[in-house]
Amino acid sequence: MPLPDAEALCAELVKKLRPAVTPETAMVGIHTGGAWLAERLHRELGLTVPLGRLDISFYRDDYHKSGLHKSVKASQIPFEVDGRRILLVDDVLYTGRTVRAAMNELFDYGRPESISLVVLVDRGERQLPICAQYCGATHAVPKGAMLRLHRDDRGQLALRLDNA
């Protein structure tokens, strides 16, 4: 089965999100693919609260097995988290571990009123009780393969399957 078209899924997500956002809605993208997607959604939805970005390397549960990731980016949360409704954005939802780490990190900035999860693709195989409230498509990929979002020089988004 061919991979879904990322640009079409983006448009789909914008349509689903539009009725849900208010001027107070904040958005946070997870590095790297999630941040690209969030940049796009943030712009298309015309959100006014500045976009946040998380690098969850300091919160990963495999640190003791795999060590600290190289080239950790700084997380930036340029708004008050307390009492905020937050849309957390990632490109691909898989085991749920990244989302778990991202939520832990967000809570170190404050106590949000709610967090909803926005993903471009849900590839299944969850290992934690986490689900997406806004999902572009579900698409199963073979275990061990890496489904990732790519962005070209013109800012076009595309999904790609890499062998781990």
Partner: protein, 315 residues
């Protein structure tokens, strides 16, 4: 020769000296530290990386400041920190260094932060404990103070962005300074084209030129056109015999005053590893002036130590 700081996979397992470290390891530490600066500016200044790990601060030589910054760094990584001031404990009862380390390893220490008056003591501990436990050199004799060198490099990169065209002057008591040695090594590794050391002949180690630095004995000549001035603490406590006529004399020739600083570039920054001797190596007008980045150095130092600990702890 195998670098004793690296494990079989080439990852950093101990931080003993900056000499001979691959450039990419140093750049990775500085980049990781930049991410930790953000963490230290949050309300919750903690991340869970070292949760459940025990960090032992083994200070065989007193240093409240360095010990405190390591303690804060470890606590911000959620480690448990145990401070041992060994000058007042077991060694005085006759226990050897390695017996002390074995005892602490039996208490499940994961990381040792070691300061020792003898050069090479942290190396000896690192060889003894192997790659599963991690050793950080927090200053050994006149040899090395790698985390200080890294935080100095971090500070320079923060303000000057790139080492490619920089002139850096290191001033004062070079002879007794492990800070100077570590800084010279890291500046070389990062490709700094012009590193100068300035001080009286009596405080200049023999053969210092072999480290790739230019030696100057005149302050104004040495500071001419530099981007960075690093002042060193005059370590009177380490001086045996008359290396200097007097502190006043030293200040007259080598103390950093606004007048001497005028020889440097107009946007030159002034650094000092602390604790400062005001009126001996640095004038208050400079230490508290607009070009001083001495307090930011302290703040960056915590992020740099968090980076080192989190990279070692995951190796």
């Amino acid at each position: 020769m195998h670098n004793p700081q690296l494990n079989a996979k080439g990852e950093l397992a101990h931080l003993l000296t900056l000499e001979g470290l691959p450039r990419e390891i140093i750049v990775n530490i500085l980049d990781t530290a930049a991410s930790f600066v953000g963490v230290t500016e949050r309300d919750v200044k903690k991340v869970p990386l070292l949760r459940g790990k025990s960090v032992f601060n083994l200070f065989f030589e007193n240093s409240t400041r360095t010990r405190t910054t390591f303690e804060i760094a470890a606590k911000r990584l959620s480690a448990d920190v145990i401070n041992l001031n060994i000058t007042t404990s077991s060694t005085q009862k006759g226990e050897t260094l390695l017996d002390t380390v074995d005892n602490l390893s039996a208490m499940h220490a994961d990381m040792f932060v070691v300061r020792h008056a003898q050069s090479g003591a942290p190396h000896m501990i690192a060889r003894h404990v192997g790659p599963e436990r991690h050793v950080i050199n927090a200053g050994d004799g006149r040899h090395a103070h790698p985390t200080q060198g890294l935080l100095d490099a971090y500070t320079i990169r923060h303000y000057k962005h790139d080492f490619g065209g920089l002139s850096v002057a290191i001033v004062g008591d070079i002879l007794h300074s492990r800070v100077a040695r570590s800084l010279i090594h890291v500046l070389n590794i990062l490709g700094t084209p012009d590193v100068r050391v300035i001080g009286p002949q009596t405080l200049m180690p023999a053969g210092v030129e072999s480290l790739g630095v230019r030696v100057c004995h005149d302050m104004r000549e040495g500071l001419a056109g530099v981007d960075v001035v690093v002042m060193l603490r005059l370590q009177s406590e380490r001086m045996r015999g008359p290396l200097l006529p007097s502190a006043q004399e030293f200040f007259k020739y080598y103390g950093l005053t606004p007048d001497k600083l005028a020889a440097a570039k107009p946007d030159a920054i002034v650094m000092h590893p602390g604790p400062m001797n005001r009126g001996i190596e640095i004038d208050s007008a400079v230490a508290d002036g607009p070009r001083s980045v001495i307090l930011p150095q302290v703040t960056f130092g915590i992020a740099v130590r968090m980076a080192v600990m989190s990279i070692l702890g995951g190796s």
